[in-house]
């Protein structure tokens, strides 16, 4: 990625290049946006929700402030309060000064003049933020005309300019397109174009890349950098992704339970965290560049309606002392100038030389952190009281035999799934074919985890659904536990369903909201003829680290991590041999994610499970999978052992993908070489000929004519290039050049 360092120098030296005319050049750059002691309360009385409790920050022109926090930490409410976009029943106190002028509580007229002009916002979901019935160019032109007296023609010209600036190819033509004709990344670019249409001084970005794939995220972050360079605006970047902040922000503020708990420069906070929460959060992030496992933070964030009297993090804090629950610590300076932390033991941590060492218990093993409750339960009661027939090997924790000696539990060979694209309701005609999955082959052996990785639209979920259907595929074969699904009868299929279970991505959607947890976990047992599921349900709930006494509750009474544990309990009810995990942690907060990952790893070791794991997060895959298959546009680009694929990727796409994942380490993130892919994923209805990746391939552009012709004309087979490491690239041996 081009010169982050240069950009920093520029922002420090010449702030506000784009709008120097408006600023008085003689004046030293004071803060453009100053938020002081902001409080936001919803409701009143005992049930009042104090969403934000005393947030203060200031940003200077050209500076990037990262606001990091988990869901419910108040980070989005803060930015909405700054913009004056909260509903009227929210009580907001404190002060928000823009160029020294108070805008909190200002009337709608003043706010309208400021919003979209001096201060503008980029939202998370670009689809809902754009009006679907207007052309993209007209929407940007409208944003321009609201704040400037320009002619319609000039506004339209400016819109095209802006689209060009945010990197939309063929901007003049694309300005006439409607939002639905744009991909997610393109829509987010349009949102940024709209936000910078009037040369704002402050850009509030609320999770601008959360809904996007990593390669597109890298593109959008690059666009934001360019936007900052062009406008000289200060950027407040709100996100839960510590990696994004590490590479992009100058300063960072960590929020927990509605308050900032640590603030400082990115280097200070990431390398020398002084608040145990920050340290725990950093340790809980699965790292792409480190082999050590993420360490979960115990417990869940407190409910904003029922905060503990002392430090809100005290119940989860490994360093808590009795004094912590007495009063809430203030945000006080610690260590280097500008570094603030809200912890009464911050000085001690400073003296001891850093919290991470103290937070991580010595020799912490995943089995001890996530599922320690379970460890005491299983051996005592004996594993399968209901589901006999699954041999439980006594040496569950011993090293498994070599891969080739183990049984194949799932084999997929040349799987194809095409969907017809039809038009018209009365007379359906076929106008094309979506090649969702086009010839995928892999196998999963016993006690092994295979991860299917890829960006949205690469066909990984379709592959999963084809396997789970247990029906004859359109082409190719699926063999589950030695049985070809094409030749299964109803009875056999039922028997295989017992051994093949699934955990879905969103625990809220995959658990029937109308059923109690007891009924949810008992459902597979009842379906497969267990009359009294009671004892087994209790055992399962303990196994996944939940209170059996909570069985009568409904899923919505649980936190996200607990809900996913219910989903895992349900999948394990019948003692399956193969569990399919569809993005099991991507809907969870960082601090909870590590706990669920630990649980999965522990269960696999103890119950001898095999996992087929679908994910888009490469860092998560690294810590759970044994082998990984990278998918692109319905085909497998690369497959092999995780260590090999991550250490020496052979396919250019894998290289790009790995380099696009942000690493939560400011030094490493800045010095890392990023391969920026151009453009979007081609439509699976019209995939490129030959190699499907060639339209975005950085290696393709380095090849000579004859070699390029080969990429265009010939589809690369999956070649075994090393021991258990294959890639489908004609020139995989040369991918090191990019």
């Amino acid at each position: 990625m081009k010169g982050y360092g240069g950009l920093r120098a520029e922002s420090a030296g010449r702030p506000g290049t784009g709008r120097a005319a408006r600023d008085d050049p003689a004046e030293p750059p004071g803060p453009v946006l100053e938020v002081t002691d902001l409080h936001v309360t919803f409701g009143a009385g005992a049930g009042a929700v104090r969403a934000v409790r005393g947030v203060s920050y200031a940003v200077r022109p050209g500076e990037v402030l990262g606001v990091v926090g988990e869901s419910g930490s108040g980070k989005s409410v803060t930015s909405l309060a700054v913009m004056g976009l909260l509903p009227p029943h929210a009580r907001v106190t404190g002060s928000v000064r823009l160029h020294g002028r108070e805008i909190l509580g200002a009337d709608e007229k003043t706010l309208s003049a400021v919003r979209g002009g001096t201060i503008s916002m980029v939202f998370q979901d670009p689809l809902s933020a754009l009006t679907p019935v207007y052309r993209v160019g007209d929407q940007i032109a409208e944003a321009v005309r609201i704040h400037r007296r320009v002619s319609r023609r000039d506004a339209a010209r400016r819109a095209v300019e802006l689209l060009d600036l945010v990197g939309i190819p063929d901007a003049a033509r694309r300005a006439r397109a409607f939002p639905h004709e744009f991909s997610g990344g393109m829509r987010q670019r349009v949102m940024i174009a709209m936000a910078i249409a009037n040369d704002p001084d402050v850009l509030l970005c609320d999770e601008p890349t959360t809904a996007l794939d990593v390669t597109v995220q890298a593109q959008v972050l690059e666009v934001l950098r360019r936007a900052r360079r062009e406008t000289g605006a200060a950027i407040v970047l709100i996100t839960h992704d510590l990696g994004v902040v590490a590479g992009f922000a100058d300063r960072v503020m960590v929020m927990y339970a509605g308050r900032p708990v640590e603030a400082g420069t990115v280097d200070d906070v990431y390398l020398r965290p002084r608040m145990p929460y920050t340290a725990g959060l950093l340790a809980a992030v699965p790292r792409l560049d480190a082999a050590e496992r993420p360490v979960p933070i115990e417990g869940a964030p407190p409910s904003p309606a029922a905060l503990p009297p002392g430090c809100p993090f005290e119940p989860r804090c490994p360093l808590a002392v009795p004094a912590c629950s007495a009063a809430e610590p203030a945000l006080e300076p610690v260590g280097s100038p500008g570094h603030l932390a809200a912890c009464i033991r911050a000085e001690e941590i400073e003296a001891a030389g850093g919290a991470p060492l103290a937070v991580r218990p010595p020799g912490a093993l995943p089995a001890e952190t996530g599922a320690e409750v379970a460890a005491g339960v299983l051996p005592a009661s004996g594993v399968p009281p209901v589901a006999a027939g699954v041999p439980e090997e006594p040496g569950g924790r011993a090293a498994p035999p070599p891969r080739r000696d183990r049984e194949v539990v799932l084999a997929v060979d040349g799987l194809v799934r095409h969907y017809p694209l039809t038009k018209g309701t009365l007379l359906r005609r076929r106008i094309g074919t979506v090649q969702a999955v086009d010839g995928v082959s892999f196998d999963v052996r016993e006690r092994e985890t295979l991860a299917l990785v890829g960006e949205s639209g690469c066909g990984k979920t379709t592959t999963l659904m084809e396997i789970l259907r247990l029906a004859r595929p359109q082409r190719g074969t699926v063999t589950v536990l030695g049985r070809d699904t094409a030749a299964l009868g109803a009875r056999d299929r039922m028997a295989i369903r017992r051994d093949l279970q699934v955990v879905f991505q969103d625990p809220m959607a995959s658990l029937d909201p109308r059923m109690t947890v007891y009924d949810i976990v008992a459902e597979p047992l009842r379906t497969h003829g267990v009359r009294r599921p009671g004892p087994r349900v209790r055992e399962l709930l303990r196994l996944v680290g939940l209170e059996p006494g909570h069985a009568a509750r409904h899923p919505q009474d649980f936190s996200g991590g607990q809900r996913q544990r219910v989903g895992i309990a349900r999948a394990l009810a019948l003692e399956p041999r193969l569990v399919v995990l569809d993005e099991p942690v991507s809907a969870l907060d960082v601090s909870i994610r590590a706990g669920v990952l630990d649980l999965l790893a522990d269960l696999k070791a103890r119950l001898g499970l095999s996992y087929l794991f679908v994910a888009h997060d490469l860092a998560v895959v690294r810590h759970l999978a044994d082998r990984v298959a990278v998918m692109y546009l319905g085909v497998i680009a690369e497959i092999g052992r995780v260590e090999r694929v991550y250490a020496a990727p052979l396919h250019p796409y894998t290289r790009a993908l790995l380099s696009a994942v942000p690493v939560p380490d400011p030094g490493a993130e800045r010095s890392r070489r990023h391969i920026l892919l151009e453009g979007d994923l081609p439509s699976p209805a019209d995939p490129p000929s030959g190699c499907r990746f060639r339209t975005r391939c950085p290696l393709f552009r380095m090849l000579n004519g004859a070699e390029q012709a080969r990429c265009v004309g010939e589809r690369p087979p999956l070649r075994m290039l090393d021991d258990d490491h294959a890639a489908s690239c004609h020139f995989a041996e040369r991918s090191g050049a990019i």
């Binding site: 369903r497 909201p513 009294r532």
Partner: protein, 303 residues
């Protein structure tokens, strides 16, 4: 399957400790937990009690005629007065309510059940099932319901009111079934339905265990509205002399008669109209509370 004592004890204990409440008990508990539910249920029960036990208290039967008192105001002899024919208003109103309650409630329940089942099956099993059921729905939608009921009315004459209920219900369900079909199609793609399918749960079980409970609020509201609709349809049929045939009476026929004399003999109209209003109100209260009871998330925001 033999169970050892130890296992049995463990299961009992587990049953006690887990509380393992069935869905029915949860819903019933929530329903009677709300004041509205209790009040609505009590009111409806009172109406039933009045309709079925009330006639035994009065001295007159609904077929009796008091030739000494035509259109007499309420008195000790005729508690709610008499009609032009000398019939006792108390007796005929309760008799009419008995019919209307049974016809209204049954027709609504049958109609909504039919709508739910047909809609859910059409939506869940796409393809030919869907096409056949949708076709049947559309066909019934274009048939003139009122005309058919009128033509069939002689069949209901000789005490065949269950047939009447059935035919009435047959014309109540189509629109709801189309809504149910749409909701089912969207629910079918939800992950918890996928989860159940991949677990090996049979499609019919999925429909009754996952799909229908998740649209229970829609169904309860629909059933509530159908009660009023059924009573009113029956009323209008009776008004034209179809539906419930004399000497049997219904609230509908009574109100129809009562409107003519309502101005100078209000007791002929107000008692039956009032009871109809109270009945529909009770049904609405019960429906509202049932909807909340079915939805575990409801009421959370209000409390």
């Amino acid at each position: 399957m033999s169970v050892t004592d130890e296992e049995l004890a463990e299961q009992r204990e587990a049953g006690n400790r887990l509380g393992a409440p069935s869905r029915l008990r949860v819903v019933a508990g929530r329903f009677f937990g709300s004041f509205q539910g209790r009040a609505g249920f009590a009111l409806l029960a009172l109406m039933f009690l009045l309709a079925f036990a009330g006639p035994f208290l009065g001295r007159w039967s609904y077929t009796d005629r008091d030739f000494t008192a035509f259109l007499a105001p309420p008195s000790a002899d005729h508690w709610w007065g008499t009609l032009q024919t000398g019939a006792d208003v108390y007796a005929v109103t309760l008799r009419g309510m008995r019919r209307s309650l049974v016809v209204g409630l049954l027709a609504a329940v049958v109609g909504t059940t039919l709508a739910a089942v047909v809609g859910a099956f059409a939506g869940y099993f796409a393809g030919w099932t869907d096409r056949a059921l949708t076709w049947a729905t559309d066909l019934l939608l274009v048939l003139p319901a009122f005309l058919i009921l009128a033509v069939m009315s002689p069949l209901f004459a000789s005490g065949q009111w269950p047939l009447f209920v059935l035919v009435l219900a047959l014309f109540l369900w189509m629109v709801t079934s189309k809504i149910v079909r749409g909701v089912t199609i969207s629910l079918r793609e939800r992950e918890f339905v996928h989860a159940a399918r991949f677990m090996g749960v049979r499609p019919t079980t999925i429909i009754f265990r996952h799909i229908l409970p998740n649209m229970s609020s829609l169904l309860v509201v629909d059933a509530t509205l159908n009660v009023s609709a059924a009573i009113l349809t029956e009323t209008s049929l009776s008004y034209f002399g179809f539906g419930i045939q004399p000497p049997d009476v219904s609230l509908g026929s009574l109100i129809a008669d009562g409107t003519r004399t309502a101005l100078y003999a209000p007791w002929t109209f107000w008692f039956c109209a009032g009871l109809l209003v109270v009945t529909v109100l009770a049904v609405n209260m019960v429906g509202d509370s049932l909807r909340d009871a079915f939805d575990p998330a409801s009421g959370r925001g209000r409390r």
